[in-house]
Subunit: 205 residues, 2 copies
Amino acid sequence: MTRRIEFWFDMSSNYSYVSSMRIEAAAARAGVGVAWLPFLLGPIFAELGWSTSPFVLQKAKGAYVWRDMQRQCAKHGIAFRRPSDFPRKATLPMRIAAAHADEAWMPAFCQAVMAENFAHDRAMDDEALCTGLLGGLGADAATVLAQSASPEGRAALRRNTEQAQGRGIFGAPTFFVGAEMFWGDDRLDDALAWAARREFGEGES
Amino acid sequence: MTRRIEFWFDMSSNYSYVSSMRIEAAAARAGVGVAWLPFLLGPIFAELGWSTSPFVLQKAKGAYVWRDMQRQCAKHGIAFRRPSDFPRKATLPMRIAAAHADEAWMPAFCQAVMAENFAHDRAMDDEALCTGLLGGLGADAATVLAQSASPEGRAALRRNTEQAQGRGIFGAPTFFVGAEMFWGDDRLDDALAWAARREFGEGES
């Protein structure tokens, strides 16, 4: 089987941003393919009784996280500016991404959307923004937006979110290599090493 | 000033165990000294409204954490066995450690206590255990135990815990280099690199 990592992310999640900006290069170095799988953290946090991100609910952790983001982004050479609004909605671009998982432009679209929020402190849940980014990536924006708004289009993101819950995902980013789960940008390199070690025909863990 | 990292830990915390087993070698390689600072996570979790570890309260995260511990300990060559009781009390050995911060045997004592729990699945909060470990490290166990049980001895751990709260610590392990905070075993190497870069006379961040 092909060496492959699943990258489960929410565009509103700051550590998902860090992974999204470095995963393709890191995976290429490891000889591993990446499947981008957007899902909504909101319903998973709601199940835990949380109304929003733990970085908002826990003040001390929240204060720390933004300093940590500065340091991590500096370390990896990723542009970063603390969003003035967090967590920011991203339903429209996440629907677009989920409904177009097989399109070559999908990862670059996700990176560009997240950079709007985490590098430029701008809104993500915006039709004009998505139209512009899709056009820049050579996609037919009008068709993509219409497909994403259709019942089938909307169902794709809902399905990803249900799968994430079913597989025990409790935060983002989360990586899977077969059945093996890795949580957090801090485990990206371990997950890639795990995927690179797997041999053709090996079992699920 | 001397290059130095503060290592804030709770003996009951599993990721504190990982750091405790690797910090001395890693710090020596970086040319950095380590100050071991035991504190109680319980009062900090209680402030967040948590009755115990989030790894117990959040089922999906809890299930993941023990698999992650296996992988992390294997990666670092650290013995590990999942404790059948978690989080395990460690008040007595933590009092001993806090009240004897300047003793040469203190770090080795902490490592040995935590290995009882995280490598051998045995209780930590035990006077016979502490007596045996102290004796093995060349300390006068009877004197150490008496000092740790005195009002001054007990105050040391309470003071560390209050300081941890005052400095915004929300989990363990936490590292400080001057005013710069790093949370989690995953940030140990970053914290050591930060400490190693600091020059004589440099400011606090």
